[in-house]
């Protein structure tokens, strides 16, 4: 036998080593599985519900946000269920949803939506048609308009979140202003007068063109105040008129007289809110959640100095837009009835009340909006209720992102003086027409 120099005759050969390693792995595999199987958790026989939600401080359910956690645990026990949350920062929600829907994999049962119901309707089921009549009767009927698509009801809005006016009462007092602006002319005048002593009259986030809470959606607010609307009965844009131009012209006039110049660079509402809470701006429009952090001295320099009012009226009165924060159920949810029951739990009176008191997000239930404790803790609830008596259409469509991107970009160009309001609205109309036609 030929001897291999340098290799002891008794050593383990390479081939033998690989063979023995493979045999050991094959033997250990079933053993590992046995050990894992014997360690099944006690709740293994319960039904698991996966919920996709935003991270607080954006509107989040109990368990994700820290409120009503005992109530959630009791609900889980009563329904033999386990609720698992996947929560991401709000700006990432849409992208993550799109990716998961495109993958075809079932990931979530209950899904948060904000203006995306028409876009993702094919991946949802119209469970909301089976909501309990008691619940439905306690919700504003118009709250279902943003979660309906082609005649079917896909969701339940869980917080009355409309844009309203917030203002610094101390700035107003120093400027001799005794009440909030009531009209567009008041708003422009106030913004100019309040720009002094190191603060600006108005601040808003004009940096992100698209989505609800982007600059295009702010223009839609003013469009409704001017008596206009986005689409006709045939679904084609109908805003290329005096109302559309006037709405944009208001934004330009405000921007040139009294708006914080940094507004064009604030891409999120929190950027603009920080300016307001630091006392560097006197007025803004914002969502109801603003009230709670504004009263916290650790987060705000204007605690106790914030006032709220309905948005100033344009030629057709006041109007707003809806944040459309809603719960939907995925089309492939394994237990849609249990998912509906979970949503009804989120919308139960006690949970809704705690949602308001603990997180600052108003309830959607009319009875809870009128609750004495809620009204005392959140005085802006009365303002939002008043605002809800006027139009608040968010004009959501399957191509809402693309439409608002197109409009928002033209608005940004106009604010910078690159075109007139009339030119911009004409361009917006042409682009939105092309987008709608492409949808078919």
């Amino acid at each position: 036998m030929r001897k291999i120099i340098g290799t002891p005759a008794s050593s383990l050969g390479r081939r033998d080593f690989l063979k023995q390693t493979a045999l050991a792995g094959a033997a250990l595999g079933p053993l590992a599985g046995l050990i894992a199987g014997s360690a099944r958790p006690a709740w293994a026989d319960t039904t698991e519900i996966s919920v996709f939600a935003p991270l607080p401080p954006d509107p989040a359910p109990p368990g994700d946000a820290k409120f009503s956690q005992d109530a959630l645990a009791a609900w889980e026990q009563a329904h033999s269920a386990k609720v698992n949350y996947e929560a991401v920062a709000w700006p990432q929600l849409h992208d993550k949803m799109a990716t998961n829907f495109a993958s075809g994999a079932h990931v979530w049962d209950v899904i948060y939506m904000s203006g995306w119901v028409p876009e993702f309707a094919k991946f949802l089921q119209p469970y909301a048609e089976k909501l309990s009549p008691d619940l439905v009767s306690d919700m504003p009927p118009s709250s279902f308009s943003t979660v309906k698509w082609q005649g079917k009801n896909y969701g339940a809005v869980f917080t009355l979140s409309l844009l309203t006016l917030f203002y610094n009462t101390e700035h107003f007092e120093k400027a001799g202003l005794t009440e909030p602006p009531k009209t567009w002319d008041d708003l422009k005048r106030y913004a100019k007068e309040l720009t002094r002593d190191g603060h600006y009259g108005w601040v808003l986030n004009y940096g992100d063109p698209a989505g609800i809470g982007g600059v295009a959606s702010y223009w839609m607010t003013y469009l409704q105040q001017a008596g206009g609307k986005m689409y006709g009965d045939d679904g084609m844009p109908v805003f290329n008129n005096e109302a559309g131009v006037d709405a944009l012209q208001l934004m330009v006039d405000l921007y040139n007289n009294g708006t914080d110049p940094g507004s064009i660079s604030y891409v999120g509402i929190n950027d603009a809110t920080n300016v307001m809470l630091s006392g560097k701006a006197s007025m803004m429009m914002n969502w109801p959640f603003t009230w709670k952090p504004a009263q916290d001295p650790t987060q705000s320099k204007i605690a106790g100095k914030l006032g709220g009012a309905v948005l100033p009226a344009g030629p057709a009165g006041t109007a707003s837009i809806d944040g459309t924060d809603a719960w939907t159920v995925s089309a492939d949810a394994k237990n849609p009835d249990l998912c509906r029951q979970l949503v009804e739990f989120y919308l139960s009176p006690d949970v809704q009340k705690q949602q308001a008191l603990q997180t600052g997000w108003l309830p959607i239930r009319l009875s809870m909006l009128a609750d004495a404790d809620v009204q005392k803790a959140l005085p802006n609830a009365a303002v939002v209720l008043e605002q809800s008596k006027h139009p608040y259409d968010s004009f959501v469509t399957p191509d809402y992102n693309e439409v608002t991107q197109a409009i928002g970009t033209e608005i940004q160009k106009t604010l910078q003086g690159a075109k007139t309001a009339k030119q911009a609205i004409q361009e917006c109309s042409d682009q939105v027409t092309a987008i709608v036609k492409k949808r078919g």
Partner: protein, 301 residues
């Protein structure tokens, strides 16, 4: 066994040992590339449950030529890349020369240099978002204190200024790696050449022009190609700082691909934009690999 040599057995074992790694690389690199190319040749829609694809050939690419957003993204990206490469390589060379000086050889300076490069991209973007903030940003505060500006500037307030600020932020982050690359090249130049030149009466500029630059030619070429490649993949700064605004003034090709795909769900069109970036990067990568090929060209240490 007859006919199989030790060499052949070694080769077979080598292939077998490499096979798992090759499979993984094909799965995570080649498959997504092929899938992206496939998507770009289709009209893709999200349908109930999955995606619906219909083959349309090069129509997505043809549509890009008529798309104002795409044309703007191409011109923004071209401007961004040319300026970034010039600034990073130029300033990087300056930093490398300083570090190569006896006084600059302290490890402290090299550690300081690494800091921008070591910061995670998104953390870097958030950091600069606060530095450039028009109300609280330290940049405005410092410039005002120094008397260089009278009023706070909205650094991201106009398309041109915002794009240039993104450029400066990315240059700041990119200089360290290129500087260290060029420093390695500088340290390979024999000091005898400089001594001989000095003896012949050459001044500093002449030594730089006739000794340093020619010796660094290959390293500079590699630095230019790498930096150009990296400039095309920029996304995080745009997403965090400007979201492509104001008025699409900071939309770069990579960001446009993201917006088309994830914001608008134009999956085929977004894939087409992404493939345009891929093909540009591929051309640059081939040039890079050719530079590294032995055959008279030395690779820096």
């Amino acid at each position: 066994m007859a006919g199989i040599t030790l060499q052949q057995r070694r080769r077979r074992f080598g292939v077998g040992a490499l096979l798992p790694a090759v499979v993984i690389i094909l799965a995570i690199l080649a498959y997504p590339m092929a899938a992206s190319l496939w998507l770009s040749l289709h009209h893709v829609e999200l349908a109930g449950g999955a995606v619906a694809e219909s083959f349309i050939g090069l129509a997505n690419y043809a549509a890009l030529l008529d798309d104002d957003s795409f044309r703007l993204a191409v011109s923004n990206s071209a401007y961004f890349s040319v300026c970034e490469v010039a600034l990073v390589v130029g300033l990087g060379l300056g930093v490398a020369l300083l570090l190569n000086h006896p006084l600059g050889r302290s490890g402290f300076f090299r550690v300081l240099l690494i800091i921008p490069w070591a910061i995670a991209p998104v953390a870097n973007a958030v950091l600069w978002k606060w530095i450039l903030n028009s109300n609280y940003g330290i940049l405005n505060a410092i410039l005002t204190e120094l008397g260089l500006i009278d009023n706070y500037v909205t650094w991201l307030g106009t398309p041109g200024r915002a794009l240039n600020m993104l450029l400066l932020v990315d240059v700041w982050k990119s200089i360290p790696f290129i500087a260290l690359l060029l420093l390695a090249g500088l340290q390979k130049i024999p000091s005898m050449l400089y001594r001989a030149a000095w003896l012949d009466g050459a001044n500093t500029w002449q030594q730089f022009r006739f000794i340093t630059l020619p010796s660094l030619r290959t390293t500079l070429a590699i630095a230019i190609i790498l930096q150009t490649l990296w400039s095309f993949k920029l996304f995080d700064l745009v997403y965090v700082l400007t979201r492509g605004g104001p008025a699409d003034g900071t939309v770069l090709l990579n960001y446009l691909a993201y917006r088309e795909t994830f914001n608008f769900l134009h999956i085929g069109s977004g894939a087409a934009v992404a493939n345009v970036v891929f093909f540009i990067s591929l051309i640059l990568a081939i040039a890079y690999i050719r530079m590294l090929r032995p055959g008279g060209r030395k690779v820096p240490a």
